[in-house]
Each structure stands twice: as C-alpha cells, then as structure tokens.
Symmetry: C2
Subunit: 209 residues, 2 copies
DNA sequence: CATATGATAGTAATCAGTTACTATCTTTTT
DNA sequence: AAAAAGATAGTAACTGATTACTATCATATG
C-alpha cells in the first residue's frame, strides 16, 4: 500500500525526488522540452511549489548533473575496485557504464544535451568536469597497462582513450535511438572485445616492414 | 560588393537558403532551441515570411533532414567509389564522414536531436532511413571483406557494424562537446587504425587455447 | 504558536502560425 | 517596346498557447 502522494516531504528529500523525476522524464522526452510544469506533474506537485526548493530552473539542472556525476562515477569505481589487471578493470568499467545507462536512460540524454548547449551554465561545467575526470582515469589505466606489458608500448594512448569513450557514447546513442536498452547490454561485451583486440595489436603508424 | 540582402528570391531558392540557415544555426545552438524567428533573422527575413515557403515548422525540419541525408550519402559514396578493397573503402568512408561533419557541425546535431525525439515525425522517419541505409552498406562491406579474406571469417559482423557507427558518433559527439572540429580530423585516422586492428584480429569468444 | 510546505492565481516574455497590406517580378496586352 | 494585370515574395502587427517565475493565501507539522 504505497502512498500515491507523499505530502510535505522535508526539503532535502523533496529535492531528491525532484532530481529523480527529471532523470525519469529525460528518459521519455527531450531534456530541452522538460518544463517545470512537467516536472511538478510527474511528482504530483504544483508547478509553483518547485520554486520553494530551487531558486530557479537552472539550479534544478545543476542538481541533476551532480546526481549523474556522483552516481555514475560511484558505479564505475565500484566495478573496477580490486581488479589488478588494467584491461580487466577497463572491461568492468565499460560494462558498468553501459549498465548504468540502461538503468537511467535519462542520464546520458541530460549529459549530451547539457554539453551541447552553447551557454556556459553551472550544469555544463559539472558535465565537463565529469568528462575530464573520466578521461583522466582511462588514460591512467592504459598507461599502467603498458607498464605491466598488457598493451604494446607504442600504443596511441590518446586515440585509445578517445575510442573508449566514443565507443560507449556511440553504443548509448544507438540504444537511445532504437529505444532498446536491453539489446545494448548484450552487444556491449562483443563490441568491447573488438576494441580490446585493437588495443592489444595496435602498431602506431608503420607496421614493421 | 556582395549584396547584404538578396530580395525576393524564387520560392525554391528561398527554401534552399532556409535549409542552409538552419544547418548553420544548428552548429551554434541546440536544434531544439532554434525558433522560426531565429531562422528568419539569420537569413535577413521576417519570421512570418518563412511560412510562405513552408506550411509549418515541421516541414522545415523535414527539408533539413532530406538535405543531410542526400549530401552525407553522396559524399560517402563518392569517397568509396572505385576502391576495391572493402577495408580501404571503409577507411575512406570513415574519413569522409568525419570530414563532412567538420564542414557541417550542425548536421549531426540535427540528426541526433531528431532521432532522440519521442514523436514519430516525418523528419524522424527520414533520419531513421538514413541510419538503416548506412548500416546496411557497412554490413555488406564487412561481409565482402570476409569473403575476400581481408577479415577473419568468425568476426562478429553485427558488433563490427555497431562499433563503426558508434565510433564515428562518439568522435563527433566529443568534437561537438569540445567545439574543436579540426582536432577530430587528425584523431580520426588514429582511432580508425585501432578499430581496424580490432577487426583483423578478432576472435569471436574463445580464443583457441 | 511558528515555520515549512503547498495551492491558487497571477505576470511578462516568447513561441508557432495568421492576417492584411505592400513591394517586386513576370506575363500579357496594346 | 510600354503599360497594365496578375502572380509571387515580403513586411508588420497580431493571436492564442505556453514558458519560467512570483505574490498571496492556506494548511500541516513539530
């Protein structure tokens, strides 16, 4: 017997519910089309009440981006924790990232939408910081894989990092387009397999001849 | 002494100019935020005048998607024409696609934006047809590469196709985010190199042991 | 009672699309 | 070829709907 309507939530919890409502909505509609009225309706509240908990709409988006950054990184860190082999850790991160998106399709849509916006909003700054942190972590893993001899010393690290992130973005984008998140989960390991082979056998520009 | 303002263009040319204006604007702002007023202003026209040439806004977007589909496929076909080796053809397509995006950053933004929209608009249908055509062409190339012995017979064709498209989407997405299209052009061949190595050495699931 | 939370009912700005009128180009008629 | 007529293209001002945001009043909680 869950209450359809939770009344008079404490402020912090109401803010959390708001963020979840936005992530939820972003999975169903274009983030740019999400109005404060739509958010309020989705959480069974009146539109004006939202502004008792957030000073303006931008603050809501900022909170959402913070939620995405925190939860995504937490999930990725957890998946790779305790794995010694860098390539195995990367594989775990890859799968964890894809699984996170499958659970929260609205999250990448908020990210992409925010990052592509022209204006340098606080939300965009958060999104950029997330991306930078992600890329740095990957580069470290690839470098240590080189040191451990798991990857060839002449591997193009930058291209490998770009391709890892790009592969996920591409997978996610295609899943968002088709609307089939489950399929992405099964294709992801097969795609990562090709990526991994590419790293392991990469010769920079002139294969010895 | 170019005229700042071309007056009273014939209808068809005015429609072409409109499409170009939209692609141009989409490179600078979120496609969803492009208003008819913004389009008109960008082409030095009044907002109402647009509706003399298009019945509604959706028709404008439809024309834009048609433009993207036609020009992108033409450029890709041209780049691969006359190349016998499938892998070389794929490499040419890859580079041509990236170059097209560098020339028209608004094009992929329109595509992604349209494909992610919930409503099944005519513009979305065009975008989906473009993607399907693209994927089919790739699958054909990969299959013929197998037959010619350029790629291993046990390569996961579906994953290879998804990864090709995903790699481009990921590259483009990162370029859109950073706003640096020139860099994408230089990174693209290095990224494709890793992709190609992945295909050439891929063993499906159980590397013989 | 005091305060936090919510509802109701607004505001000014902006959106796609329409209307009435005017300018410009093309064709026909003389 | 000159002028009138018709068609096409553009302008300016508007409409109703929707937006983010606010002011005021009501209620629930501790």
């Amino acid at each position: 017997m869950t209450e359809v309507r939770a009344k008079n939530l404490p402020a912090e919890e109401r803010r959390n519910v708001t963020v979840e409502a936005v992530i939820d909505l972003a999975g169903m509609m274009n983030p740019g089309d999400i109005t404060t009225a739509a958010i309020a309706k989705h959480m069974h509240l009146t539109q004006g009440a939202l502004f008792r908990h957030f000073p303006n709409k931008e603050a809501i988006w900022q909170a959402v981006m913070q939620w995405v950054a925190t939860h995504l990184m937490a999930r990725i860190d957890k998946s790779a924790a305790g794995i010694k082999e860098p390539l195995a850790a990367m594989q775990a991160m890859f799968q964890a990232h894809v699984a996170f998106v499958a659970d929260h399709p609205g999250a990448p849509r908020m990210l992409f939408g925010e990052l592509q916006g022209a204006a340098m909003t606080p939300a965009k700054r958060l999104a950029q910081a997330l991306m930078a942190q992600y890329a740095a972590r990957l580069t470290d893993l690839i470098l240590s894989a080189k040191i451990r001899g798991e990857l060839p010393a002449d591997l193009d690290v930058e291209a490998a990092t770009v391709l890892f992130i790009g592969t996920i973005q591409g997978l996610v984008m295609q899943a968002l387009i088709s609307g089939d998140m489950g399929r992405m989960l099964t294709v992801a390991p097969r795609v990562f397999h090709i990526y991994r082979r590419g790293l392991e056998t990469a010769a920079p520009n002139k294969p010895k001849g």
